[in-house]
Amino acid sequence: MYIVVVGGGTVGYGLTIELLRNSEHEVVLVDNDGSVVRDLRDELGDSVVHGDGTEVVFLESIGLARADLVVAVTGNDSHNLVASQVAKHWFHVPRAIARVNDPLNERLFRLLGVDSTVSAAAAVLAQLEVDLPEHTLVPLMHLRRRGLEVVDLHVQPGSPAAGRAIRDLTLPPQALISLVVGLDGTPQVPTGDTILQVGDELIAVIAEDSESALRHLVAAPLVLEPDPVRGD
């Protein structure tokens, strides 16, 4: 794959090193700051190019039209968004991933066709939630084009899912429980017969709008509600 990384800060630098480990990739790291480029060249050589990752004329010179992927990871959301849009709309690069620095901008990036977004704030938040024993659902990854997301679910005591077989659960359309990790840490690809236990961790692919339905399925019931396990 030909991959163009825009932004030579810590994120772009670390990413480029990882990508260059795989010799099948052709990787170009672009940065607009001459002194940053000089420093990075000492370590990464000709893979680092000095230029503006949002400027058509420059991007033509590095052959962006044949890129398979653009990853825009500067510390500035406007550069990241415009780099993705120029790549997609002018050069028809099939896939663009952008870093979102201000979590408020996440929605805009999605609306404007950035295929995936990476946000340090969201990543830390997700990790925080995973570490809380009472967490129910944590989004792990968005599969934007299909309107799907990958989520981590945690079966709570007394929840509708606890003690029941997957086939007996009322799952929202398109929801697929792909992996069950038991309390002992063994991952298992579930079947309809798999019985979910309290404390199980589930990795599921779901439609983006069915988060709350899934949450209810694994969440502990409110104190005043009748026991939903026996409801029907």
Binding site: T54, V56, D77, S78, Q85, V86, H89, D102, N105, L111
Partner: protein
Amino acid sequence: MIVVIMGCGRTGASVAARLVSDGHHVNVIDTEEAAFRRLPSSFNGRRIVGSGMDQRILEAADLRKADAFMALAQGDNRNVFAAQVAMHIFGVRNAVVRLNDPFRGEIFSRLGLRTFSPTVIGADLAYRALMGPAPVVEHASTLPEQPETAG
């Protein structure tokens, strides 16, 4: 019409003055408070100090109620970013963007922004000045006297 302008440089301040004299309501955003000195004394809108890239600042400028947004700051990417926030997050239909890079102008006008490029306009004027008819130069002694500076 209610208009929010981001960037109170010479262009932003002149457009704001013109809109106000036409009877429109204008709120102006700039990162530097000093920039608001360019506004005429007749300016009766809000002056907001902050970055137009920050949705909270756009909110403070009452963008939600605006009929139009004009991104007239220096950076192309900042302008195009703020204009897209105005359109897609705040639902403003009419978004004008100053873009120095004509290529970016073409991309984003296809995406529904009203773009203009000072670079293209400037180059065009320079070309016409070069190729157009030469001005008639009168003999130096017949040049009109400098007008007295008005009080």
